[in-house]
């Protein structure tokens, strides 16, 4: 049994450190381990140096610090690779699905909602939380960790509020304001004041803060530019007033004696088509074909937006509108009295078919209401 001198014990510890093992607890482990091997296996007057060199080589394949690397891998990055892979894949999916969803939405193709919905859910529930996890592992500073946490939360809130906005779900406006509020009032100041303290980060912090303020301001402008719910409530009331007017006109005694059977049938067809198209427009937004009288308390007002995919060429809504235009033209040829002709200048009838999709929902509703009113007026 070999007896190690204090000098040799110190030498071994220094050598372990020099070979790149930095973790103190691991250094101590290896130090004691090697000392034990030498004490147990080296003969009393054996050659310490050569035995030590031979022994230490059995600890690793290429370098001693491999053990520390393996330890760190096990400690810090449990499931590291799988998580990183999931993060990257979820990020790629979110970005791709969001772009595809946006294109589908603009083109009024089917599946837009699916892409946007899954993109937002994927980024807010998988990508951003994992990104937060990796980012916080990179830093030891508590302050930095807090900023990353607030930033991630802000990102998640941004995704959720965008999703609510795109899907027209209730509460989207409040969520959107909360996102901008958190960004402008908490995240940006927090980021700015923590970064500005360090001289090496000063310029970078100022530049990034300016960009963030521009982004926050841009989002805020977008929110303010969009009509508030009061405008939509008022528009919905106007629509209901017009509907009431149509009903009252219908109840009036009709004078159809001067009209031919063909004309009566045409006017009925036109009216029915108008009711049907209106129902489709409202249904695509509210999930029901009429705006109820108590829409305000039920949060069911109609927001102004583009027409749904039912109105793209070839679809039911589009065909109904084309058919309606045709019927109005027939009506105008049959009706002999010039004062009873439905004016077509600057109206739906004069527009080419490819312009139909360019209408907003309220725009088309107004056109249809006017057509109904002209017909009813002719029958008084």
């Amino acid at each position: 049994m070999y007896c190690l001198s204090e000098k040799q014990i110190d030498y071994i510890l220094k050598d372990i450190s020099a070979r790149g093992v930095e973790m103190e607890s691991l250094q101590l482990n290896l130090h004691d381990h090697i000392c034990c091997i030498i004490e147990q296996n080296l003969e009393e007057n054996g050659d310490f140096e050569s035995f030590y060199q031979k022994t230490i080589k059995t600890f690793y394949k290429d370098e001693l610090w491999e053990i520390e690397e393996e330890t760190l891998l096990l400690l810090t990055y449990k499931n590291y690779y799988a998580m990183k892979k999931i993060m990257i894949l979820s990020g790629i999916y979110s970005a791709t699905a969001f772009i595809l969803g946006s294109i589908f939405k603009i083109m009024h193709w089917q599946g837009a909602s699916f892409f946007i919905f899954t993109a937002m859910i994927c980024s807010s529930l998988i990508f951003l939380p994992l990104y937060f996890l990796f980012k916080t592992k990179e830093t030891e500073e508590k302050g930095k960790k807090i900023i990353i946490a607030v930033g991630t939360f802000n990102g998640i809130l941004f995704c959720i509020s965008s999703l609510f906005k795109i899907m027209h779900w209730p509460g989207s406006h409040i969520l959107w304001l909360m996102t901008i509020g958190l960004l402008g009032l908490i995240f940006i100041p927090l980021y700015f004041f923590s970064g500005i303290k360090k001289p090496e980060n000063k310029t970078n912090t100022i530049a990034t803060t300016i960009i963030l303020i521009i982004v926050a301001g841009f989002f805020f402008a977008l929110t303010s530019l969009k009509s508030s719910k009061h405008v939509y409530i008022s528009k919905s009331y106007h629509y209901l007033q017009n509907e009431e007017l149509i009903n009252r006109m219908k109840q009036m005694k009709k004078d159809t004696t001067v009209q031919t059977k063909e004309l009566i049938k045409l006017s009925n067809d036109i009216n029915n088509a108008c009711v049907k198209i209106k129902g489709m427009i409202i249904n695509s937004e509210l999930g029901q074909s009429i705006i109820p009288n108590d829409f305000e308390s039920k949060n069911l007002w109609l927001e102004e937006c583009g027409l749904d995919r039912e109105f793209i060429p070839g679809e039911v809504g589009f065909n109904l509108v084309v058919d309606l235009k045709d019927k109005i033209n027939q009506y105008n040829t049959l009706v002999k009295i010039p004062s009873k002709i439905i004016p077509i200048e600057n109206s739906l009838v004069k527009m080419t078919d490819d312009k139909i999709l360019g209408f907003s929902n309220y725009n088309l509703l107004n056109h249809l209401t006017q057509i109904q009113m002209f017909i009813l007026q002719n029958e008084r």
Partner: protein
Amino acid sequence: MNYSSELLKGTLKTIVLKLLADNKKMYGYEITQRVKELTLDKIQITEGALYPTLHSLEADGFVTTETEFIGKRVRKYYSLSPTGKTKTKEKVSELADFMETMKFLLDIKTKTT
């Protein structure tokens, strides 16, 4: 015969936990020697595998450590924590079950002498 490191990798935690359960407290070198002794040199745990595993078990809270000075050097003793004791039982029964399944899967006949 020495077993491949791939085979040992999945069982090392269980081996270490079981040894600690049977021996109260042990230090690294002692663990490698005990394994060697019990398996008649068939299993030789390398330092490169043992210490990362011990650190990982410590981080998981399954083992606790205490240090002792042996002259000029420090020795770290490992012992099971209460959660480690429960974990050991789980791990050992899991491995036993796994071995049964492997026997069945690979159609290994147990020697009857």
